[in-house]
């Protein structure tokens, strides 16, 4: 019974992705005829796609934004989560409450003021404009705080006595022991950054700063849709996140387990 249900659900889960893969190798006509086997039009689709859109630029942009954001977000959020758990200060609980409150705020509510700020600061169409609103995310801070709870305080005391500076304790002791949390946080952040669509759509008006999702979304705006080319675009947008997912799948699950205990 379990096997039947799980098999059906698995097939349903994978099928649209399989179809995307197949469609990207077929001509548009074959796709609409219901082709389910790989075709020979991959190279043609590739040429057409690169002729129609600046795929290379979009790909580079997406990687640039996502990597810079992921790196900075890891640094800022893990420091914040660590600080919230390890150090004791009068205002701590109050600040944490505000951070938690901010988690509830929908993006739509902050999108317009954020846009105005970024635009006043002259950061439209720039990497800085892309990353600023999401460098510090309450969800990640929470996650790092939860896992810092399992980090033994005795060790910190011992390290202090041995003369280690606070930043050394953080980088040399905390970071290496929290690998699975970092892996989970990295996966989530990179995927969110790569997939984000609304925010870049608002601040990136110059075609030179478009991201992959924006490029693909542009492909459907014409009257006639070339499904082969479209699916190739979708495929290229999907590959990086799928690759990351496969590499970090195991530590991702571990990190989630650690943070919701």
């Amino acid at each position: 019974m379990s096997y039947v249900v799980l098999t059906i659900v698995s097939i349903l889960s994978v099928f649209p992705l399989f179809w995307m893969l197949v469609a990207s190798t077929n001509t548009s006509v074959d796709v609409t005829r219901g082709a389910l086997l790989p075709g020979l039009a991959f190279l043609d689709n590739w040429k057409k796609l690169f002729a129609a859109q600046e795929v290379g630029t979009a790909m580079l942009n997406s990687f640039k934004y996502a990597i810079v954001l992921t790196f900075l977000a890891m640094l800022v959020c893990s420091l914040a989560g660590y600080g919230f758990e390890i150090y004791h200060d009068k205002g701590k609980d109050f600040v944490m409450a505000i951070v938690l409150l901010a988690m509830m705020v929908p993006f739509a509510a902050t999108m317009i003021p954020l846009f105005q700020m970024v635009s006043k600061a002259g950061l439209l169409n720039s990497t800085a404009g892309f990353i600023l609103p999401t460098i510090s995310t309450p969800f990640l801070i929470m996650m790092f705080r939860q896992s810092a709870r399992s980090f033994p305080h005795d060790i910190i005391e011992a390290a202090r006595i041995d003369g280690l500076k606070e930043y050394q304790i953080f980088f040399k002791m905390f970071v290496p022991t929290m690998k699975s949390t970092y892996a989970a946080a990295l996966t989530i952040t990179f995927m969110n950054a790569w997939n984000s669509y609304l925010w870049p759509k608002i601040i990136m008006s110059d075609a030179k700063s478009f991201t992959m999702p924006m490029m693909v979304a542009n492909l459907i705006e014409g009257y006639v849709t070339d499904y082969g080319v479209l699916m190739l675009g979708v495929l290229l947008t999907t590959i990086p996140t799928v690759v990351i997912f496969f590499f970090l799948q195991k530590s991702f699950a571990e990190g989630i387990t650690g943070s919701i205990k």
């Binding site: 994978v14 005829r33 993006f107 739509a108 999108m111 003021p113 999907t238 699950a253 989630i256 387990t257």
Partner: protein, 261 residues
């Protein structure tokens, strides 16, 4: 956030804003498209979130069985949709359900339909497509949370229950659900939050159409502030309503969650 609150009491286009008091809020309730988008969000919320969470729970408890073979394969397959970008999967589903898309091709081939049914231009079927797409994308994500939670439940409880002759349904409703309650609550809040902020799907799957039948609040706010003549004040007023809704819903869910204890 605060500047959004101030802005919501102003009106005007672009940079020219003037104080108008609560007129933006009054206008909101007589705006048919806005009320429609509000209703759409609630339709998605009420139908999609329970289906998805129940499905995720059932799948997770099936995968938690120690004797199950190919566990990793099933888990990866079901979680895989989460690795696709929001824009990508919206476009894949748009192509699958298009007039000349795969679903219609098959329905015609098997003689169920004579000509393609235009899923995306009929209000009800367009909403159903969005709901199917959402369930497809997010079930695996929630399942991972449940699986992580199930790891913390002592497996011998299940074995003991089975020896005592408890049926699968009983084990599910008497052991799994009560013990996972905090995580179910967490996923319910996260999903509510996510559903109220839907944007990518509405834009790329249906374009909000037909005749705004599937438009979401975020999409409408985006249209108001960035697509047509910008009315930041009015848009900010609408975003505040979303903020209040999210807060109220999260509060209700927490209360309901507490009471059951």
């Amino acid at each position: 956030m605060i500047s959004a609150l101030i802005l919501s009491f102003k009106s005007g286009t672009g940079a020219k804003v003037a104080w108008t008091g609560i007129s933006n809020y009054v206008r909101m309730f007589s705006d048919k498209v806005f009320m429609q988008s509000l209703m759409n969000n609630f339709i998605y919320l009420i139908i999609q979130v329970p289906i998805m969470l129940i499905l995720a729970l059932i799948l997770a408890s099936m995968l938690n069985n120690k004797d199950l073979k190919f566990k990793g394969l099933f888990r990866t397959a079901i979680f895989l949709p989460c690795a696709t970008s929001l824009v990508s999967y919206a476009i894949i589903f748009r192509a699958l359900f298009a007039n000349d898309g795969l679903i219609n091709t098959f329905l015609i081939k098997f003689g169920i339909l004579d000509t393609g049914y235009s899923f995306l231009t009929h209000a009800t079927s367009a909403r159903i497509v969005i709901i199917i797409a959402l369930v497809w994308r997010w079930t695996g994500y929630n399942m991972v949370f449940y699986l992580a939670g199930l790891q913390n439940i002592d497996y011998s409880i299940y074995e003991a229950a089975r020896i005592d002759g408890a049926s699968t349904v009983q084990i599910f409703s008497k052991i799994t659900v009560p013990l996972l309650k905090p995580i179910i609550l967490l996923t319910a809040i996260l999903s509510t939050n996510g559903t109220l902020q839907l944007f990518d799907e509405s834009v790329n799957l249906t374009g909000g159409g037909p005749a705004n039948a599937t438009i979401t609040m975020s999409h409408y706010i985006y249209n108001i502030s960035f697509k047509y003549v910008p009315k930041f004040g009015y848009a900010a007023a609408m975003s505040y309503l979303i903020l209040i809704l999210v807060a109220v819903l999260a509060f209700i869910q927490m209360r309901v969650g507490d009471r059951r204890e």
